[in-house]
Structures are given as C-alpha cells and as structure tokens.
C-alpha cells in the first residue's frame, strides 16, 4: 500500500497591498511554495476578524497565517498595528486553550518580498506538517 504524504491545508489571509502582491511576485519569479496554501485576499490584515480564523479551522484548515504590511507601512496608516494587538491576544488565547501555537502565525511581507513570501509559506507548511492534522479546532461535521 502506498502511503500518501500528509499535506496540511493552510489558509493564508493576505493583505491586498503587500503580501498578496508579494505572492504574485513569488509566482512571477518562479519561487515555489506548496499548493496547499490557499490565499484569501483581504483589503488589510486588520480585516481579519478572529472569527475568520476559527472558521478556517472549523472547515478543515490545519494552519492559518495572516500576512500584512510591515509595521509602519500600512496602506491605511495603522491597520496592521491593530492586527498585531488582536492576533497577539487571540493566539495567546488559543494557546491557553491548548491549541497548538504553531498553527497560527502573523508575518509582515511587503509587495517586494516575493522570496520572503515563498520562504514563509514553505516554513509554515513544514511547521504545520510536523504537527499533523488539526484535531482540536475542527468541526467533525465538515468531514461528512
């Protein structure tokens, strides 16, 4: 029997003004990152409501990453600063509830950092792959 390699499902929320373009650049430069990364474009990283992250896990994501502009570079001046606080508290809470802390991450990736985008995704996928499937924040009904 052939053992298929476990491939984690990753949801990446990418800011339209930076990391989404960064992902584009990674593609143009033919920098490979795993196809399991599903990108959801958001107008700003601070558009990401904690509920989005939980819903991604509910629907079967094994890891969720939020990519925004570098602090100070927000297209809307300060959105990513709010993201930073919110996610700091949310991730700390998830950790407190016993959800593996490696499943969530925030990275600042600019439009010019195609290489960083690819490297970040490769690293995140590897980290999550090492953890295996998300069992603690899943909704079993979704597997039907």
């Amino acid at each position: 029997m052939q053992v298929t390699e476990y491939k984690p499902k990753i949801v990446a929320f990418c800011c339209n003004w930076c990391s989404y373009a960064g992902a584009d650049l990674a593609g143009n430069n033919r920098l490979a990152y795993p196809a399991e990364v599903k990108i959801i474009r958001v107008p700003c990283s601070c558009r990401v409501n904690p509920m989005f992250i939980l819903r991604a896990f509910q629907r079967g994501a094994d890891g969720v990453i939020i990519c925004g502009c570098h602090p100070g570079d927000c297209h809307y001046t300060s959105g990513n600063y709010y993201t930073r606080r919110r996610m700091a508290l949310l991730f700390s809470m998830l950790n407190y509830l016993g959800i593996e802390k490696e499943r969530t991450r925030v990275e600042w990736v600019s439009a010019a950092e195609g290489a960083k985008f690819a490297a970040t995704m490769n690293d995140f996928v590897q980290t999550v792959a090492a953890l295996g499937e998300n069992k603690r924040l899943e909704d079993l009904r979704c597997k039907l």
Binding site: Y82, R85, E100
Partner: protein
C-alpha cells in the same frame, strides 16, 4: 455580613424618591428563600418597603439594565452600585451606552457576596434558611441541623479575589470607600498557563463540554451590549443555538471573551450565572492578564473615556509570535 444594612439603603432611597431626585430605583428584591434575590426595578417607596433587600446574596450588577432603562421616561433612575459594579458602569459610559444624566448612582460598600452553590454543596439538600453571622454563614438545613460555613468558604470566587473595594463612579457614597486591592485573581490563570498544551486542552474540553449554550453569560455581561449579537444574526454565517460540536463550544466562548477583551472589567457575572459552573472568568482574565503584560496595566472601567487596549497601539508592540511565548512565560 454587609457593612450597611437594608434600612440604611432604604432610607436613602426613600429620601431620593421623596425629594424627586429619582422616580424609579434598581435594587434587589426579596425572593422565596433567603438566597434567591432578584434584581428588580422599583417604582415607589411602598414597593421598596415591601420587597427591597440588601444582604450577602445581592450579587446582581445593575449597570447593564441602565442601557435600556435610560431610554425610557424622563426621570432619573436610582441605582445602587457595589465597587465592582462601578467599573461596569464606567465602562458603559466610556462606550456611550447610556445617558449619565438619567442616573443617580449611589455607591455602597461590599463585603463580598455569597455563592449559593457553595453553601448548597456544604449543606447537601434542603436549606431552610441562611443567616450571615460573624463566624460565617449559618445554614439551617432541612435534614442535618445547622451548619456553619466559614465566610471565606461561602463567598463567590470573584469576591475572594476582589480586585477593588474602591468606587470609581457615584453621585454619592454611603458608608466608607475602600481601596484597590492587591488581588490574587490571576493565580488560577497562571496555574493553567503552567500546564502543557495537552493538559490545558483537556481542562477546557472538560469545562466547555458542559456548555448548554443558554447564553446567560452573554446576556448578563455588562460589556455585551450589541443590539443584535453575531451569534443571533442569521446573516452573520455563524448564527448558532446549540453546542453541536466541541468546535462550536470553543468558537462561542473564544469569540465571546475576545469581543469583550479590553472592555471586560472582570465583574465575574458570567461565571456567577453559568448554570453549568464553567469558569468563564478564566477566559476573560487571561485576556486581562495578557493585556497587562503586553501593553501595560489596564483596568477597564477605572476611568471614563480611557482608550481600550484593542483600539489602541504603539509602534513598538510585541509581535504575535512573541506574545504567545510571553503569554506562557510570565506565568
């Protein structure tokens, strides 16, 4: 035993009704037994004389009721505020949830409120009556005679780790004001932080799996004042009524706590009302503890108009990745 008696409060209320300062009053109503006190709105001195009580079972916080009640009528509402209630009161003012002009707030000292479940556990079945004595709560049981529960064992958890005996809002104060206490309220959070992820997960599964989604925690919370909650809104995509899976239990409680993060004054009402005794305050306190550690000490409701940590930032805030580490390390 409370420092002030029912009569002191009642006399003051009578005077305020008599001189026309207020035309209705929030206060505690006598129940069927000694302990099942109901928060109520009194419209006359006569009603108050008949039913008003103030004793060790008056835990209910009236602040949230003011949101709706101040929209009605022209006259002022008298409200009795214990020290912890004043923080909720201020927080609601900060969020412009009610008209301060329509409220006459009387601060009253609090010596801590009893947790009936604890007393019931001590007395097994059947409480004939409960009296608060110097040595503690004397429970007159139906079958086992009298039992004395030391005060420290009969008080609510939130009162045992009371954060403040100081009133932060009032029009007048009855009795003595206290001080902000050096509370041990984060000890339990720290104990959980010290566990490993598997243990923490097991702990919360055990607790949250009891949730029946009655929404009492949300509905009593003075910080939860949305006109329509996201969990009731059919268009939100997350509307839900029952804890169908463990995910939904976690989702509800994470979002509930997150939504009040930075605004929660740690009044402890959520845990008081939970029919399943889930220690919900441990979620809220985790946020408070993290906020204090990451962004500096902040007590929601301590002053009107303060900017909540989640609608604020500094350019030097720590990164979420570090936060998760720190969230555990400072334990």
């Amino acid at each position: 035993m409370q420092a002030l008696t029912r009569e002191v409060l009642l006399d003051r209320a009578k005077a305020l009704f008599a001189d026309g300062t207020v035309d209705r009053a929030y206060g505690w109503k006598r129940g069927e037994f000694d302990y099942d006190v109901t928060p109520g709105l009194f419209r006359s001195v006569e009603e108050m004389e008949k039913e008003f009580v103030f004793d060790d079972f008056c835990g209910a916080n009236f602040s949230k009721y003011l949101v709706e009640e101040t929209r009605k009528g022209e006259g002022k509402i008298l409200v009795f505020l214990k020290p912890c209630d004043t923080y909720s009161f201020n927080q609601l003012l900060t969020e412009h949830r009610f008209d301060r002009e329509k409220v006459y707030a009387v601060g009253i000292p609090c010596e801590g409120m009893a947790d009936v479940t604890k007393l019931k556990a001590e007395a097994a079945e059947g409480i004939r009556s409960i009296t608060a004595e110097k040595e503690g709560f004397v429970v007159h049981t139906l079958y086992d005679g009298d039992k004395t529960v030391p005060r420290t064992e009969g008080l609510s958890e939130r009162c045992l780790v009371c954060k403040s005996k100081k009133h932060v809002a009032y029009d007048e104060l009855l009795g003595e004001d206290g001080e902000v206490a050096d509370s041990a309220r984060f000890d339990e959070v720290a104990r959980l932080e010290a566990m490993n992820a598997d243990e923490r997960f097991a702990f919360w599964q055990r607790e949250l799996s009891r949730c029946i989604r009655c929404n009492a925690c949300r509905d009593v919370c003075p910080a939860c004042t949305c006109e329509t909650c996201v969990f009731n809104n059919p268009n939100s995509g997350v509307e839900s009524k029952a804890p169908v899976t463990s995910f939904e239990e976690q989702m509800f409680h994470i979002i509930r706590a997150f939504h009040v993060a930075g605004r929660c004054t740690d009044c402890g009402e959520c845990s008081r009302v939970c029919p399943q005794h889930i220690p919900l305050h441990l979620l809220n306190r985790k946020f408070i503890k993290d906020i204090n550690a990451f962004y500096g000490e902040y007590q929601a409701g301590a002053e009107v108009g303060s900017r909540a940590p989640l609608v604020n930032y500094t350019t030097a805030d720590l990164e979420p990745g570090e936060a998760v580490q720190r969230g555990n390390e400072h334990a």
